[in-house]
């Protein structure tokens, strides 16, 4: 059974909420699909249902936005995965019990991004996790996954996490920032103009770090994690401008939890399935769909907004969402695109910030050289760098060919954790670009779907 809707918005983070709102406000029929019980994505992650307490300002903002979306008449389809996209813009949905097909006249993808995995010796030890994992536990469940935290990565989000951890009573042994931020940030000072909320949050985090005497080291990074059965300590080192550890600068630091905050990889899978042309933009997180000024991809009627089209943060996602919501509705005869130019200066401001962020916080080549031959690259299938090397010796020269020979990328996560790692290693070893080496082809279902739910259509 195929349902019809005018505009389907996939993902209810800042981008998707704003897209759904802008579209619904024109009178268009909108369905907003999200896989969480509590829509909000990562940015607006709500505390768990059943928990009572004072929500953070982000949470209040997210909750308010959701209420507006509902009030504007959009239909919210929660706890539902979009697992495939078929001809004529038919989306396949699954809520765990059954499958629904939703045919839309326009689709706005706001599927966000996920933390970039980084491989180094010991990264698979329990206790090493993404900054997003720590953040999620903190925000949603008010749980600390460890006692002594080492934050390694880049960007201001680490400051925010460190401050939140400190306020929650955790011990943060250090924050390692891979980029030599000062004085480079001063070159981009113009991009900070207007970013008052961000500057305020950054300053507040900074003061918290100072108050708790949390060491912040710019131009430093993790080299290895050590421990018998879980993380017990880390080896860290000063990095050169290409993020390569400087020999002789290594230190050992005792910790039980390492929060890896190395930016994000866009969730562009659905845009690929819908046939949108992609381009390789490492400064935006990797492979992203190409878009026009109205956020439309090369697939007619398919729009992409927010981090899934290039890492840029919540404020940019909101504006892009508004633009896509207005544009897609206008294309279907609801409202006009007149309101879009009014968003131009806000868009430009956020793009400047995005460019500054990319200039400062795109990791250097050294980040992908931390892995050794006995380091696991594919966590699911436990494929090491040496296994990949053997596949290259047999003539494999793309990520997909390496996958077919080694099984790297064939496991449960379908390459989300390892494709970039393997691709970067192949590029380095063969002298080709990561774009040439490619990642892995997407196939439905893009999330595991219960067999019993697939055979049952509603």
């Amino acid at each position: 059974m195929t349902e019809q809707v005018e505009i389907a918005v996939v993902g209810a983070g800042p981008g998707g909420l704003c897209a759904a709102l802008a579209a619904a406000q024109t009178g268009a029929q909108v369905a907003l699909i999200d896989n969480n019980r509590n829509p909000g994505g990562q940015y607006y992650r709500q505390t768990a249902r059943g928990f009572r307490g004072e929500p953070s300002s982000h949470q209040r903002e997210g909750a308010a936005l959701l209420q507006q979306v509902i009030a504007a008449g959009a239909r919210i389809i929660a706890e539902t995965n979009v697992w495939g996209a078929f001809d004529d813009k038919v989306l396949a949905l699954n809520d765990g019990a059954a499958t629904t097909y939703l045919q839309a006249r326009a689709i706005i993808l706001a599927t966000g991004a996920y933390d970039r995995p980084v491989a180094f010796p010991g990264w698979t030890l329990p206790g090493a996790m993404t900054a997003g994992a720590v953040q999620t536990l903190l925000k949603e469940q008010r749980i600390l996954p460890g006692k002594r935290f080492l934050l390694a990565g880049m960007g201001p989000l680490q400051l925010v996490l460190a401050a939140e951890l400190a306020r929650a009573g955790a011990q943060v042994v250090a924050v390692l920032e891979g980029s030599r931020v000062f004085p480079r940030v001063l070159e981009h000072a113009g991009a900070l103009w207007g970013q008052w909320a961000r500057l305020s949050e950054g300053l507040s985090s900074w003061l918290t770090l100072a108050r708790h005497r949390i060491p912040y080291r710019a131009g430093w990074g993790i080299v290895a994690a050590e421990g018998a059965k879980q993380v017990e300590q880390a080896t860290i080192a000063r990095l050169d401008e290409n993020w390569r550890p400087i020999r002789g600068s290594e230190e050992k630091i005792a910790c039980d939890t390492i929060a890896l905050g190395y930016g994000f990889i866009p969730f562009n899978t659905l845009s690929r399935l819908l046939g949108a042309k992609q381009e390789w933009r490492p400064e935006l997180g990797g492979e992203v769909p190409m878009r026009d000024a109205q956020m439309q991809t090369s697939a007619s009627g398919v729009y992409a907004v927010g981090d899934c089209a290039g890492i840029g943060g919540a404020a940019l996602a909101r504006i892009e969402g508004q633009i896509a919501g207005i544009a897609s509705a206008a294309q279907l005869g609801h409202g006009t695109a007149d309101a879009i130019p009014a968003r131009a200066s806000a868009l430009a401001r956020e793009r400047r910030f995005q460019q500054m962020y990319a200039a400062l916080f795109t990791p250097g080549a050294g980040l992908y050289e931390l892995s050794q031959d006995d380091t696991i690259l594919c966590r699911c299938e436990e494929i090491t760098q040496a296994d990949v090397r053997r596949a290259l010796a047999l003539g494999a020269d793309t990520t997909n060919e390496v996958k077919l020979i080694t099984r790297g990328g064939m496991g449960d996560c379908q390459g989300r954790m390892c494709a970039h790692l393997i691709a970067n290693f192949i590029a380095r070893e063969t002298g080709r670009s990561v774009a040439q080496v490619g990642i892995l082809p997407p196939r439905p279902p893009i999330f595991p779907i219960p067999i019993t739910a697939l055979g049952v259509t509603r």
């Binding site: 078929f86 396949a92 077919l404 219960p450």
Partner: protein, 374 residues
């Protein structure tokens, strides 16, 4: 700039699937200077996307001796190719949900025994005893113990690597754009890669290009009646070892095999859609899900992880086209395997090498001649 490159060879194989790679391997083993041209990657099409069944039973009678001969080759392949191709002789079960199917299987089984293939019929009790993981819907089956399965990608690539070690030239990401004829004999194959055109001169051309063999052949006036058909497979997330056999039910329209790491591959047995399109449609995925759940109840708590589709090449009578072509000396067709060529890959390759080197195949190819369609 892009000057034309020329390679001299004794035989050129078009197509890097299992038939092409096995042909290159057996030719190289016989000392023939062979080049193989593949438009994308070795094993990148049907040979790398199929269910992996190495099956003798349940075949058209014309194919049966070839499957039996091929399995004899399969036995020695892991050692011969020097690679772990995950070949497992776990048996093949063809189940029945109704009496009519059982009767068909019985008659086929009698014929198979006549032809020297050991099979056994299982009634409901025997089926439950031998394959307790199967659903209640089945009333019996035919079983062949010497059938099995392998990793399709690795086998195809292993044939290619072995051929290379024996001196074969393997050209990938090279599309054949023409075959030339001089007098009444093939003379060369022209390929195009990222650097431009290259010519492989050879007195023998083997067309093992599967669904693409028709277009290539048409260009030299030889009509090859193969039509593309889409076959879909879905895999189930890795689960505990449930079964070692390759199982199939035409009544439910699905087959399944559990690979070494535990992922279960589920494919369809219904008539595949006539298309080059390689996207798995939703209704086929639903069909595979329903079939899998009914065939193996333990999968009801499991998830589909991924799917893919591949392109088969179907002949009008669903058996291959293998052998010389009247009027074009040196041109050998090795195509039309119609969705059940994986088992036959090794024997097809060996027969190709015999045609070239010995002038005669060790098994009569009469039933597979192109001329039967005239």
């Amino acid at each position: 700039m892009n000057g034309q490159r020329t390679i001299g060879a004794e035989a050129v194989v078009i197509g890097g699937g299992i038939v092409g790679c096995a042909s290159a391997y057996y030719l190289a083993r016989r000392g023939v200077k062979v080049a193989l041209i593949e438009k994308a990657t070795i094993g990148g099409e049907a040979s790398g996307r199929n269910g992996g069944g190495v099956r003798q039973q349940c075949r058209d009678r014309r194919e049966r001796p070839f499957a039996i001969a091929s399995v004899k080759l399969w036995e020695g392949l892991p050692a011969e190719l020097g690679f772990d191709i995950e070949y497992v002789r776990g048996g093949n079960i063809r189940m029945a949900t109704n009496d009519a199917r059982m009767e068909l299987l019985r008659r086929e089984g009698a014929e198979e025994l006549e032809d020297g293939l050991q099979v056994e019929m299982w009634d409901r009790d025997e089926l439950r005893r031998r394959a307790p993981y199967l659903g209640e819907v089945f009333i019996g089956a035919k079983y062949c113990a010497t059938d099995g399965a392998a990793n399709p990608i690795l086998v195809t690539k292993a044939f290619g690597w072995a051929a290379q070690r024996l001196g074969a030239t393997i050209l990938t990401r090279t599309e054949v754009v023409g075959i030339s004829i001089e007098g009444a004999r093939v003379a060369s194959v022209t390929g195009r890669d990222k650097d431009g055109e290259l010519v492989v001169e050879a007195p023998w051309v083997i067309n093992a290009a599967g669904p693409w063999s028709a277009a290539l052949s048409h260009a030299i006036g030889v009509e090859v009646p193969v039509e593309p058909a889409r076959s879909v497979i879905a895999i189930v997330q890795r689960c505990a070892p449930l079964f070692r056999e390759f199982i199939s039910s035409h009544d439910l329209g699905v087959y399944a095999r559990q690979a070494r790491e535990g992922q279960v591959h589920v494919g369809g047995t219904n008539v595949p859609a006539h298309t080059f399109d390689q996207r798995a449609p939703a209704d086929v995925l639903e069909h595979l899900a329903r079939g899998a759940a009914e065939m193996i109840p333990a999968l009801r708590g499991a998830n589909f992880l991924r799917s893919w589709a591949g392109t088969l090449e179907m002949t009008p009578d669903k058996v291959p086209i293998l052998g010389h072509v009247d009027g074009v000396k040196g041109y050998i067709l090795a195509t039309g395997f119609s969705g059940h060529g994986f088992c036959l890959g090794p024997i097809a390759g060996k027969l190709v090498s015999e045609l070239v080197v010995d002038g005669a195949p060790s098994l009569s190819l009469h039933e597979f001649r192109l001329a039967r369609f005239a």
